[in-house]
C-alpha cells in the first residue's frame, strides 16, 4: 500500500459486498415474487439480472429482495418497486431484459416504465 488512493480503491470495491449488511430505511426496495408460481415463470433470472444491474451501476441505495406470491400467478414474474414516500409500482410478466430497463428507467432516472406496469400491461 503506497498511497491513500490505493486504499480507497480497495474500499470502494469491497464496499459493494458489505452494503447489503446495513439496515437502510431509506433504501429503494425491489421485490421479486419468488413463490412456486414466480420461480416456475422464471423469476430467478429476473432476480439475478436486477442484482447484477444494480451492482454494475453502484446503486448502494437499493435492496433487491424476494417476496411471496401476491395472487397474480398468471402474470408472474412480478416485480414490485417501492420508492420511499411514493406509491408502490407493480410490474408484471417481467423477464431479464425488462428488469434491466426497470433499473435504468425507473430506479436510476425516476421514470416509471408504464408499459410493463400492471395497470397498462393487463389490458
Amino acid at each position: 500500500m503506497k498511497t491513500l488512493a490505493e486504499l480507497q480503491a480497495i474500499r470502494d470495491k469491497a464496499r459493494k459486498e458489505i452494503n447489503l449488511r446495513e439496515e437502510n430505511p431509506d433504501a429503494i426496495r425491489v421485490m421479486v415474487g419468488m413463490a412456486t408460481c414466480g420461480i416456475a415463470a422464471g423469476a430467478r433470472p429476473v432476480l439475478n439480472a436486477l442484482v447484477e444491474e444494480t451492482g454494475k451501476r453502484n446503486l448502494t441505495n437499493v435492496t433487491v429482495t424476494q417476496t411471496g406470491c401476491i395472487g397474480l400467478c398468471q402474470n408472474e414474474p412480478v416485480v414490485e418497486v417501492l420508492v420511499p414516500g411514493q406509491d408502490k409500482v407493480t410490474y408484471i410478466n417481467v423477464d431479464a431484459e425488462k428488469a434491466i430497463r426497470i433499473v435504468n428507467d425507473h430506479i436510476v432516472n425516476g421514470n416509471v416504465v408504464s408499459e410493463y406496469t400492471i395497470g397498462t400491461a393487463i389490458k
Binding site: L7, R21, M31, V51, K56, V64, T67, G68
Partner: protein, 595 residues
Amino acid sequence: MFRSNVLICGGTGCSSSKSGELIAAMNEELKKKGLEKEVNVVTTGCFGLCALGPIMVVYPEGSFYSMVKVEDIPEIVEEHLLKGRIVKRLLYSETVQEDVVQSLNKTAFYAKQKRIALRNCGLINPEIIEEYIAMDGYAALGKVLTEMAPADVIKCISDSGLRGRGGGGFPTGTKWSFAAAQTADQKYVCCNADEGDPGAFMDRSVLEGDPHAVIEAMAIAGYTIGANQGFIYVRAEYPIAIKRLQIAIGQARENGLLGNNIFGTDFSFDLEIRLGAGAFVCGEETSLMTSIEGKRGEPRPRPPFPAVKGLFGKPTVLNNVETYANIPQIILNGAEWFASMGTPNAKGTKVFALGGKINNTGLVEIPMGTTLREVVEEIGGGIPNGKKFKAAQTGGPSGGCIPAQHLDVSLDYDSLIAIGTMIGSGGLIIMDEDNCMVDIAKFFLEFTVDESCGKCTPCRIGTKRLYELLEKVTSGNGTMEDIDKMEELCYYIKDNSLCGLGQTAPNPVLSTLRFFRDEYIAHVKDKKCPAGVCKGLLNYYILPDKCKGCTACARKCPVGAITGKVKETHVIDKSKCIKCGACVETCKFDAIIKM
C-alpha cells in the same frame, strides 16, 4: 454480485455449538440448489448474544436466526433464500413482535448498546482484509501517517478521554505521551491479550471478530511514540483468535499495511505474536513483558514504568485489546465524538462479558455510565426462573460485588471504586439468591492462590492463609475472631504485595465482608449457609409425611447413607452422607430437603 449475505458466527461461543458444521451444510445446500453464485456465506466474529448460538443473520432482510441446527439448513435455503419466505419459527423471538418482524437493533438486548470496539464483530469476515477496509479500515492509519504529527495523535487521544480498558483505567493519551517523550534507539508497542479473568471474553471476541482493528491501532501507536516493532501477547488458550490474528497480520503485510514505508512514508512497523502459557500473572504488565523477553513471567517493581523502561529495557507502550480497538474510530471520528459518550470522567463505551444467573448471557457494549439495573433488567433480560437479583461481581478476582441496594450504580471507573469494586477488564457475573457470597469469595481466592506467581511473600503466603480462613468459615468451624483476622490480613496483603495481582486479590473478600457480613456471621454463629451452598453446613433430611418409600433415593445414593424398607419412610445417616444432592434430584415426591 451476491444478492444475499448469510452471516454465520464463527466466534468461540458459536463454534462450540457447532457453527462450523452449519457453514459447511449451508455451502453444500446452496450448491445443491444452484445458489452459490447468488448467496455469499460469511463467517463472522461474535454477535454478542452467545446464549442463543449458533447465530445466523440473513441480509438484506436482516433476519436474525438463533439456535440453528444443521437440520434447519435445507428449510432456510428452500424457504428464505430461494422463495424469500422468512422462517419465522427460527427467528430470535424478540425480533418478532405481534407477528411482525422488527429490526434487531430494536430488541432489548441491542437497543441500549453502542458498538465501537465491537462495531465490526458479527458484520465482517475477519479473515478477509478487504471487508475490514470496506468498513473504513486502515483509513485512520492513512490519516495519521499523511496528515498528523505524533503530537497531534497524542492530543486527539488525550482529548477523547480514552482510558485503559484492561482494568487500570489509566488515560491512554498520557501513557503514549510518556513513551513518546523518551529518547531511545528502540521503542516497542505491546498489546495485552492475556485475558485471564474467569468468565471474561471481551478481548477474545475483538481479536476473533475484528483483528485488523488492533493491528491498525498498534501501528498508530508505533508511529506516535516512534516504535517500529510491536508484540501481541495472547494466551494460547485462544486458538481461533490466534489463527485469525496470524491471517490478519499476513494480509496486512501483503497489502503493505505492515512492513517498510507504509503508505509511502518513512514509517515502518511490524508485529509479532507471543503466546502466553496460561499464567494469570502474565496479564500484569511487567510480568507480561518479562514473559515476552523469554523469561519466567514474574512482575518487577514499578517505577521504572514501562513507558520509560519496558520491554527489553526500552520505552514501551502497553495497552489492552479493547483500548486499541477504540483508537481507529477516535482518529476517524474525532476526539469530540468519543468524548460525547459516557460520563465526565469516563468517556466512550465499555464491553462487558455478561454471565452467571442472567437470561441473555453474552457480550454487550454500552456507554460508560449505564446503570447496572439497565444491564441486568433490560439488556440482560432479567434473572432466570423468577429468582431475585442478589449481587453482581465485576473485575473478576481483582474486583468485588455490587449488592442489590446499589443496582442503580453507574458503571464507570470511579463509581465502582467508590463502592469497593472495580470495572476491571469487563467480566460481569450476575448472582441470584442461590449464590452464597462467602463461597463466591472463596472461589475467587482459590483462583488467586493458584495463580500467585510466588515471587513476593504477602501474596504467596497471605492469599493461602486467607483461603484457609475462608475454608474454616464455610465448613462451619469459623469464629468471630477469624472474621476480624481475615479483614486484617486482607489489608496487609493489599498494602504489601509487589504487583496488581496481590494488591487486588483480597478485594472479593473485603467486598463481600462489606456488603454481606451477615452471611459470614450466619456461617460462624448459626452454623448455617443461608443460600444452601456450603456443603459443610448442609444437612439433608427426608420428610416423613412425603416419603412414599419408593427406594429410588437409597438406590441412587453413592455411599449407602440412605436406609429404609419398601413403602416405609427412609432416613439419611448424617455421618455417611457426602451431601452430593443426588437423592434430591432422584426423589419424585420432593420429600428430601436440604437445610
